[in-house]
């Protein structure tokens, strides 16, 4: 063989193959191929700025566009009509000089009300989904990473004490709450004592009872998810909302607290598969802490699919809020939301169809665009699909 083993070649340093492209550039290159997703994203951005504009223009005592100003002289005006300047008092004349979306049965400017409602939709969508994603990442992460570890009786006691303590405190039973919380602290102390004693290899019966293994964390979390999924979520929300004082914040929290199950399942599945990946094994072999492995190695890799489901989740949260408001359980009047505009308008559907069509079409467009955007994201972020490109 005439090929000699020259060391010369091996001293050359390898340069990266691909031209330098950040992940963002790569993402954008793939994303822009999907026209529908681009359209969804454009609508999303427009909606985002409209909602912010709506928030700034309609708040305060003398808002630029007053969504609550009643002008009975100008009621049920169709879209794009000019206000009746002779009969309106000066402060009642709309600043735009035109009713873009017409007026409702009380002569309120539908455009201003839609703007105000868009802010509600945006915040409800984002906050509710934010809550559900946070819960999902936390519970799903625990179930996925520590899944097979059993909960010991001692730990169960600590958790039970903590939970009841917090519940009592929230219900303003300060004394009872504090006592129970101290109980949980005592339990933690006992655990530490037992752990110290256990290293001496002599285990008392009490210690063995204390360390008795009950069900695994994964079982607890996932069965809880199953239970939550048993309730038809819209009626669960309705029930909770009926019990709580009606406010926009309660709506957000309730929607968030009843929709985290999907995200939990997602994150758990991602964690289960990530846990078997070689780079996680390598991180463990390097001796990195669990904390670092979870936050540096696993969550960033699990977050992409969660982001996708979150985007679609925002659409359904907006829809849920609109549904609640339509049924009258949502944000209380006089605050306008798309749902209650729709609800108010339904009585005049033949006389003033714009009162139902305008919010209806707005909801349709936003939900559709979020779904398209989310599906576009999924196509790009899914590595299996990416390899085809």
């Amino acid at each position: 063989m005439e090929h000699t083993n020259t060391d010369m070649h091996d001293n050359q340093l390898d340069e990266p193959l691909a031209p330098k492209r950040t992940r963002l550039e790569e993402f954008w290159r793939l994303f822009k191929q999907n026209r529908l997703a681009i359209a969804g994203m454009v609508f999303f951005i427009v909606f985002f700025f409209l909602a912010i504009a709506g928030f700034t223009l309609t708040r305060g005592n003398t808002p630029v566009l007053d969504p609550a100003l009643v002008r009975l002289q100008d009621k049920l005006r169709p879209p794009l009509t000019r206000p009746n300047l002779e009969r309106l008092r000066p402060h009642e004349i709309p600043k735009l000089g035109i009713y873009i979306f017409g007026t409702d049965d009380l002569g309120r400017d539908v455009f201003a009300r839609m703007l105000q409602g868009s802010w509600v939709s945006l915040t409800v969508g984002f906050v509710a989904v934010g809550i559900s994603v946070l819960i999902g990442i936390f519970l799903g992460g625990i179930a996925g990473y520590y899944g097979s570890r059993p909960i010991r009786i001692g730990q169960l006691l600590v958790l039970a004490f903590l939970f009841t303590g917090v519940v009592l405190l929230i219900n303003k039973l300060i004394w009872a709450g504090s006592v129970v919380l101290i109980g949980s602290a005592v339990c933690i102390l006992i655990s530490i004592q037992i752990k110290k004693a256990a290293s001496a290899k002599s285990r008392s019966a009490a210690a063995r009872l204390w360390n008795f293994k009950t069900i695994s964390i994964d079982t607890v979390v996932m069965r809880f998810v199953d239970i939550m999924l048993c309730f038809p979520s819209f009626f669960l929300i309705l029930t909770v909302v009926a019990l709580l004082p009606a406010s926009i914040y309660n709506i957000m929290i309730v929607i968030g607290l009843t929709t985290w199950m999907g995200a939990t399942r997602f994150v758990r599945a991602e964690f289960l598969s990530l846990r078997e990946q070689d780079f996680v094994a390598a991180a463990r072999a390097l001796g990195l802490s669990n904390f670092r492995i979870i936050f540096r190695h696993m969550i960033p890799n699990a977050v992409a699919p969660v982001l996708v489901s979150a985007t679609i989740g925002i659409a359904s949260a907006i829809l849920t809020e609109a549904g609640l408001s339509f049924l009258g359980f949502g944000v209380p009047p006089p605050h306008a939301t798309w749902g209650n505009i729709l609800s108010d308008g339904k009585r005049f559907i033949f006389d003033a169809p714009w009162l139902t069509f305008v919010p209806g079409i707005a909801i349709l467009i936003i939900v559709l665009s979020f779904n398209l955007f989310g599906e576009g994201l999924r196509d790009v972020l899914n590595p299996k699909l990416r390899e085809r490109n």
């Binding site: 390898d14 070689d278 780079f279 094994a281 390598a282 991180a283 072999a285 390097l286 990195l288």
Partner: protein
Amino acid sequence: MNEIRSDNGTILEVENLKKYFPIRRGFFQRINSWVRAVENVSFQIARAKTLGLVGESGCGKTTVARLILKLLAADGGQILFNGQDITQLDEKEMKPLRKEIQIIFQDPYGSLNPRMTVGQSIAEGLKIAGIHSRSQQEQRLEKLLKMVGMSPASSDRFPHEFSGGQRQRVGIARALSVEPALIICDEPVSALDVSIQAQIINLLKDLQRQLQLSYLFISHDLNVVGYLCDMVAVMYKGQIMEYAPTDALFDDPIHPYTHLLLSAIPDVDRNNDTEMNATADEPGRTLNPADGCSFQDRCPLAENRCRHDLIEFEQTGPDHLVRCWKTARDGTDSFL
């Protein structure tokens, strides 16, 4: 080859290592039976030497690797690293030892975190090694990348920008970042193209010479093992069947399974027409040790004794151990 096992030079000694996985069945997930993934595995690795662990897929090679790294807990036996049994250590006591044993994986795509740059991946190890200052880290990073033949400009790139061979180099650099004494190579070249394979093998050899590294080289490719390793252990269904210095194993294989493996090597330079015929296609059921030799289903020499007696690991020559009573006692390979 005898100097390999000079006792003071042993870095890792595995003795009667066991790992059983439960098979759960039914509604209550009761443990139905056990898979003996690793059964009484023993071997030693000398300082700055390479032990090859050979076997077909599913024979337990990778489980051995994970047991040594303590990614899995052993069910029995000892793993002595520099004379210290690591199976009994808890996570805290293990931490300083983690640096000493590192791993390189087969799949260059799964072994790097896709969300971290090459530099960040390697720097994690540097922090563990106690290099905290940024400038020192950068210096060391550059040196490590050069050591594995990568340009220092690679450090702010993401893994997806590299080819398989380049990623494998990065994986090696990450392993080296904590200055280990032993590296477990889990099929590090079997996913690579022929031309790249030679680069990585040369790199591993150079690093061994420079840094006095010991390797546990896990592979199914006997050509690579024959080229790279000093000692070879042949594994079959969780047990080591034959353990010998490379030359002895290739020149005078004793165990029928080793014969079968060697005859199946596709090699350009040799035309071995004397292929051994196994009686069965591939590994069948897994057996208890009491049921005799685990190779009995495929062994052309299997007799009644093989099906009932416990087969011991016996010495047949200097450093040469075999788990087959037949050939071990005769000392000849009468069946070819």
